[in-house]
C-alpha cells in the first residue's frame, strides 16, 4: 500500500486504520432473541469447513474491542436496551451485520407480543443477510460485502 505523503498525517493514519480494519475485522455477536439457528450457523462459519478466520475475522468477547456487531434474531423487549448498550460501547467506526430473516423483518415471530421488531429499529444496520437461517456461505458473503463497502468509503 502506498501512502501519499503530501496528505495530512490524519489522512495517512486513517488509511492505515482502514487497511488494518479490512484485513482483520473483529466481530462481536449478540443474540437479541433469535431461535439459535442463526447463531449456530455463525459459529459454523468459524469452524474448519467454512473457516471465516481465513479472512482475518475474529470473533471475540468484548464490545470495546469490536469493529463489527453481528446480530441475530428479532429484538425482544428485554434485550433492546442491551443491544443498544453493546452498540454504544463499540468504538467508532462501527458496522452492523443483521443475520437472518428475523433480524431483517421479525421473520416468523412478527406480531408476538414481546417482539418489538427488527434490528434496524434499534440500531443502524450496514449489511443484511437474508435466510432462515442463512447458509454459512451467505454469512461469509455478507462479511465480504461489508469489507468491500468499508474499502470503498
Amino acid at each position: 500500500m502506498t501512502l501519499n505523503l503530501a496528505q495530512s498525517w490524519q489522512d495517512a493514519l486513517d488509511k492505515v486504520r482502514t487497511w488494518a480494519r479490512l484485513n482483520s475485522p473483529w466481530l462481536i455477536h449478540y443474540n437479541s432473541g433469535s431461535c439459535n439457528g442463526c447463531d449456530i450457523e455463525i459459529l459454523a462459519t468459524l469452524t474448519p469447513r467454512y473457516d471465516v478466520e481465513r479472512l482475518g475475522v475474529k470473533l471475540q468477547g468484548s464490545p470495546r474491542h469490536a469493529d463489527v456487531l453481528i446480530c441475530t434474531g428479532p429484538v425482544t423487549r428485554q434485550s433492546k436496551d442491551r443491544l443498544r448498550r453493546i452498540y454504544e460501547q463499540m468504538p467508532e467506526p462501527k458496522f452492523v451485520i443483521a443475520v437472518g430473516s428475523c433480524a431483517i423483518s421479525g421473520g416468523a415471530f412478527q406480531g408476538c407480543y414481546n417482539v418489538i421488531g427488527h434490528i434496524d429499529e434499534v440500531i443502524p444496520v450496514d449489511v443484511y443477510v437474508p435466510g432462515c437461517p442463512p447458509r454459512p456461505e451467505a454469512i461469509i458473503d455478507g462479511v465480504v460485502k461489508l469489507l468491500q463497502k468499508i474499502g470503498k468509503q
Binding site: 462481536i28 455477536h29 449478540y30 443474540n31 437479541s32 432473541g33 433469535s34 431461535c35 439459535n36 439457528g37 442463526c38 447463531d39 449456530i40 450457523e41 459459529l43 459454523a44 469452524t47 474448519p48 469447513r49 471475540q60 468477547g61 468484548s62 464490545p63 434474531g73 428479532p74 425482544t76 428485554q78 434485550s79 442491551r82 453493546i86 421473520g107 416468523a108 415471530f109 406480531g111 408476538c112 407480543y113 414481546n114 417482539v115 432462515c132 437461517p133 447458509r135
Partner: protein, 428 residues
C-alpha cells in the same frame, strides 16, 4: 471477631455473567456470589429471548403454527414440530402413516446426532480444548450434509406436516446416510476415547458437578443430565411415540453423575442413534408419506404430547376449541427443568468450574425463555410432587366425569383453589 467478619464481607462479591457473554451464544444472565474463589450463591435471570410464542400461536392457524413452533429452537427444531404434530394429530383423532412415523424418528435421531456433536464442541470450548471444538464441529458437518440432502435445509428442516412428513428417503440418500454414519461412528469412538483418557481434560470433568441419583430426582432434571446420574428418564422408552415401538432404543445410563459421565452418556447415545437410523433405513415401512385428508379445523379438546428432545423431555399441551387456531399451546422445554441443577451444583465449587457445569446440562436459552411468572412474596408456596400429581389426577377425573374433554366448557371447578403463582404461570 469483628475484623474477621469485616474481612470476610470484603471478600464476598458478585460476579455477573451475561447476557452478552463470549462463551454463551445466547442471552442469559447469571449472578454468582463468590468468596475468594468459591461460589456461595447463584442466581439466574432468564427471559432475554422471550418472544411470546405461546401467545402468538393463538393468532395463527394450525398449519402456520407448525412453522413458528419449529423456530422455538434452531438446534432441536424437528423435535418441536414433531411434538406439536403428534399432539394435533391426537386431537384430530388421526395418526400419521407408519412410513412417516419412521422418517420422523430418523430425522429426530439425526438431529440428536448434530445436537450432541455441537454440544461436544461447545463443552470442549468451555474447557479450553479448542482442538476438540474444531474437530467436533468439522465432523458435525457430515450430519448437516445428510440433513440437507434429506430435507433441503441445514437448520429448521421442516420435515413434518400435520398428518405426515414432507420428504421421502431415496435409495441414493440412504447409501449416503450409511456412509456418513460409518464415518461418524469411527469419529465418535475416537471422541469417547479422548474424553475418558485425556488427562488434562479429565481434570476439568472428573468428579466435578456431581449430582447423585436422589438429587437428580429431587431437582427434576431430565434427559442426558438425569441419565448421567443413573436416573432412567427417557420418553422414547417410557412412553414410545412416533415409531419408537417398532424401532426401540436402549437408554444409556451412567452412575457417576459428574461432568465426565455427562460426556460419556451423550457420546454413547450417539451409537444408539446410529444403530436405530441404520435399522430404520433397512426396514423402512412402505406406504404413504402423508394422510390424504387432514382436517383444517381441529376438534375441540386437550392433548398432551411428550417427546425426547436431545436435551431431555419436551412437553406440549395443546387445547383446541374447534376453530382453525389453537386455544392454548403450552410448551415446557428440558433446559428449564435442568436449570435448577446448575444453581445447586455450582454452590461450593470454584468459579472456574461454573462454565463447565452450566454447559454440562447443554443449556438452550431460546427454548428456555418460556415466560413463567413465579410470584415471590406472600403467596409464594412450594408444591410437592404428590400434591401436583393429585391435582392433575383430579383435574382429568373431573373432565371425564363431566362428559369428555370439552372446548369452552372446561371449568376448573373440581380443582382445589390454585395459588396465583401457578395461575399466572399458566397463562403467560
Amino acid at each position: 471477631m469483628h475484623t474477621n467478619e469485616h474481612t470476610q464481607k470484603a471478600e464476598t462479591f458478585i460476579v455477573p455473567i451475561g447476557p452478552q457473554h463470549p462463551a454463551l451464544r445466547e442471552p442469559g444472565h447469571f449472578e454468582f456470589t463468590i468468596e475468594g474463589e468459591i461460589v456461595t450463591a447463584a442466581s439466574v435471570r432468564l427471559g432475554y429471548a422471550h418472544r411470546g410464542i405461546e401467545k402468538g400461536t393463538e393468532s395463527r392457524n394450525w398449519v402456520q403454527n407448525l412453522y413458528m413452533l419449529e423456530r422455538i429452537c434452531g438446534i432441536c427444531s424437528h423435535i418441536h414440530a414433531t411434538a406439536y404434530c403428534l399432539g394435533v394429530e391426537q386431537l384430530a383423532g388421526v395418526e400419521a402413516p407408519p412410513r412417516a412415523q419412521a422418517i420422523r424418528e430418523m430425522v429426530a435421531e439425526l438431529e440428536r446426532t448434530h445436537s450432541h456433536l455441537l454440544w461436544l464442541g461447545e463443552a470442549a470450548h468451555e474447557a479450553g480444548f479448542e482442538t476438540l471444538f474444531m474437530y467436533a464441529w468439522r465432523d458435525r458437518e457430515t450430519v448437516m450434509d445428510i440433513l440437507e440432502a434429506l430435507t433441503g435445509n441445514r437448520v429448521n428442516y421442516s420435515a413434518n406436516l400435520l398428518g405426515g412428513v414432507k420428504y421421502d428417503v431415496t435409495g441414493e440418500q440412504a447409501s449416503k446416510i450409511e456412509q456418513g454414519l460409518d464415518y461418524l461412528e469411527e469419529r465418535t469412538r475416537h471422541y469417547l476415547d479422548v474424553v475418558t483418557s485425556d488427562p488434562v481434560f479429565i481434570q476439568r470433568t472428573r468428579g466435578i458437578g456431581v449430582m447423585t441419583a436422589v438429587q437428580a430426582d429431587r431437582l427434576g432434571v431430565v434427559g442426558p443430565t438425569a441419565r448421567a446420574s443413573g436416573v432412567v428418564r427417557d420418553v422414547r422408552v417410557e412412553a414410545p411415540y412416533a415409531a419408537y415401538t417398532a424401532f426401540p432404543i436402549t437408554p444409556v445410563l451412567a452412575q457417576a453423575g459428574d461432568l465426565e459421565a455427562r460426556f460419556v452418556v451423550r457420546l454413547r447415545e450417539l451409537f444408539e442413534s446410529y444403530g436405530v437410523i441404520r435399522r430404520i433405513l433397512a426396514n423402512l415401512p412402505p406406504g404413504e408419506l402423508v394422510l390424504k385428508r387432514m382436517p383444517r379445523r381441529i376438534k375441540a379438546g386437550e392433548a398432551i404430547s411428550r417427546v425426547e428432545a436431545p436435551r431431555g423431555e419436551l412437553f406440549y399441551f395443546i387445547r383446541s376449541n374447534g376453530s382453525d387456531t389453537p386455544d392454548r399451546v403450552k410448551v415446557r422445554t428440558p433446559t428449564l427443568c435442568n436449570m435448577a441443577s446448575v444453581l445447586t451444583l455450582t454452590v461450593g465449587r470454584h468459579l472456574a468450574d461454573v462454565p463447565m457445569i452450566l454447559v454440562g446440562i447443554d443449556p438452550c436459552f431460546s427454548c428456555n425463555d418460556r415466560g413463567l411468572v413465579l410470584k415471590r412474596g406472600a403467596d409464594h408456596e412450594h408444591w410437592t410432587w404428590d400434591r401436583l400429581r393429585q391435582i392433575g389426577l383430579d383435574y382429568y377425573a373431573g373432565e371425564r366425569g363431566s362428559g369428555g374433554v370439552g372446548g369452552t366448557s372446561i371449568s376448573p371447578a373440581p380443582l382445589p383453589p390454585c395459588p396465583p403463582a401457578l395461575l399466572t404461570g399458566m397463562h403467560v
